[in-house]
Symmetry: C2
Subunit: 168 residues, 2 copies
DNA sequence: GTAGATTGTTGTCAATGACAACATTCTCCC
DNA sequence: GGGAGAATGTTGTCATTGACAACAATCTAC
């Protein structure tokens, strides 16, 4: 459907919106959020989007996504565990984790050894390459975390961590 | 690629994992998050996922998604504004907002009137149906918010709101 | 030893975010 | 008055993500 709309009489009124120079427009168009900023979920999500975007951008050189990073850290902290255990810990669904690990294996950052105790499951480990890569990745992640602290304020960041860490 | 893996000697060791009764398994498989819970982004995201899932489930009867809800609230609080203004306020991209509004219009919850001052843009308003629906929607959203307060604790919820509201 | 659960894999679908292209219209500047 | 360039809304496409179903292999429980 193409746009067909009556021609507006442009000289109708003097209340025309102001000139839209690129910087000016942003300010003039700011609207009220209404009841939205009484919803914790909304403000939570806005910050979370900021965090993810900065994280993705910061780790773009290593081409590591947040989910991949979390998996690498959990494997490092719990070597030899199964996909089911990792997925359960991180809340990542089986199917998605299988594909995610396939990619990490393709990059030779992790290995899947056969488990001696359960022939269905794989034991996950970081490879030497994976450990080396993770050093650089952690360094970038630290840069991101510093930028985040700068964005929200160091004190506020600490308070948020304390409030959020231990109730899941 | 199908699975082909060496047959495991099942009697190899006594260290076999315990029986996996559905409740038991969840506890036994809990792993360490490693350095992950020093990342604000991670704990933030976990809570945000909880919030969204509860929201979506609570508003399933009205078939309203979080983004749709936010748009309805902002239109209510700022009637007659353009799509560009709404999108800018909520951080929703032009293309996505156009399709989202198309759906809300199909349900007769919003109307797009031609703007007298700018023939390119539409003035967005809630319809009578939209306002009626929004009453029910807000009631469900309040239920969700109460459940959220119960989940994180009323005091913690307040503290989080204060920390998150005013720095974007 | 069999019934039912678990593990990992693949396929598919819907929602989302991002980007490009486009017609229409506006603003700016000469 | 008349472009040049920007803004608005629309559509198309692509990649990512989450969710679910089906499947073979294997394990647990009885």
């Amino acid at each position: 459907m193409t746009r067909r709309r009556p021609v507006a009489s442009t000289a109708k009124t003097g209340l025309r919106r102001r000139a839209a120079s690129p910087a000016r427009a942003e300010k003039l168009n700011k609207l009220t959020l209404g009841q939205l900023d009484y919803h914790l979920g909304y403000v939570l999500r806005r910050l979370q989007i900021w965090v993810f975007q900065d994280f993705i951008q910061t780790l773009a050189t290593m081409k590591v996504r947040p989910a991949q990073y979390s998996v690498l850290l959990v494997i490092e902290a719990n070597p030899g565990r199964s996909q089911a255990a990792i997925g359960q810990t991180l809340g990542i669904e089986r199917a998605r984790l299988a594909r995610l690990l396939h990619e990490l294996e393709r990059r030779k950052w992790i290995s899947r050894r056969a488990s001696g105790s359960d022939a269905r499951s794989h034991c996950l480990h970081l490879t030497a390459d994976g450990e080396k890569a993770l050093v650089r990745i952690k360094s970038l992640a630290a840069q991101h975390e510093a930028r985040l602290a700068d964005h929200v304020g160091a004190k506020r960041r600490t308070q948020l961590m304390e409030l959020l860490r231990d109730f899941g």
